[in-house]
């Protein structure tokens, strides 16, 4: 078996697959959660760990991954988030999802970079 310098079609970090994973996890974990300042640090950390572990299980071999979670209180304030990446557009990709309920909003961005 040769050492491939490019991921095969099945192994690519597919934006749509990743987005579905994130969406399912957010729906499950945040369904009835209220914004409580003391609990938020723990929640954001555990969410990012859970999502990262879930993505590892998906089997994206040879991909380095970064998952970023932002949770904020819903108070009508304006929030804007942007990201730019310097990578190999052929092999690398990202996915994001937003979850909102009455008391909080949550944005998750997951990035995958192929390790040659």
């Amino acid at each position: 078996s040769a050492y491939s310098l490019r991921p095969g079609l099945q192994q690519r970090f597919k934006s749509s697959t990743v987005k579905e994973c994130i969406h399912a996890i957010l729906k499950e974990k945040l369904a009835n959660v209220q914004y409580v300042p003391e609990e938020m640090p723990q929640l954001t950390m555990s969410l990012s760990e859970t999502i990262k572990d879930r993505l590892k299980e998906e089997g994206f071999d040879r991909y380095k991954m970064v998952v970023q979670v932002v949770i904020g209180e819903q108070r009508g304030e304006g929030v804007n988030m942007a990201a730019r990446c310097f990578w190999d557009a052929d092999t690398d990709s990202c996915a994001h999802d937003v979850f909102m309920n009455d008391s909080l909003f949550c944005v998750v961005a997951a990035f995958g970079c192929f390790y040659y």
Binding site: T44, K64, Q68, V70, G72, N80, M81, R84, F86
Partner: protein, 136 residues
């Protein structure tokens, strides 16, 4: 003020270090190929200052600001000429008494990859910029 920011990177060594082509690696060459947090942090601060330095939060301009902070940071990082892939994210939030938390989790090689996060604020808004560098 209800702002709490938490950032944690969890690294996991996935692949063995590539064998160095020659057996010697001096400290000068390693700083040319490693993620230097202070350097990246000052690049980010400069980008934030120049994009939103003296401004008050304006809903119509926020989009433009986040984009310009991120693009400027990224272009300065790539000018460093190191063998890294970069990911830069920026969150700008109006000061309204609401809380914001961010966390990130990474699956990478702890010895070569790194991250840097800068929190900045003025009277009307908060800005959080994270830069991740993944070695090739």
């Amino acid at each position: 003020m209800g702002l709490n920011v938490v950032l944690r990177a969890v690294g996991k060594k996935r692949f063995g270090r590539r064998a160095a082509l020659c057996g010697v690696e001096d400290s000068a060459s390693s700083s040319r190929t490693s993620f230097v947090v202070d350097e990246v942090s000052s690049i980010i601060k400069e980008a934030i200052e120049s994009a939103i330095g003296g401004n008050a939060y304006q809903h119509s301009k926020v989009n433009q600001w986040t984009t310009s902070v991120v693009e400027q940071t990224l272009s300065q990082l790539t000018k460093l000429g190191k063998p890294f892939k970069y990911i830069v994210t920026c969150v700008i939030m109006q000061k309204n008494g609401a809380g914001l938390h961010t966390a990130s989790s990474c699956f990478w090689d702890n010895s070569s990859d790194g991250t840097c996060t800068v929190r900045w604020e003025n009277k009307t808004m908060y800005c959080i910029v994270s830069a991740f560098g993944l070695a090739i």
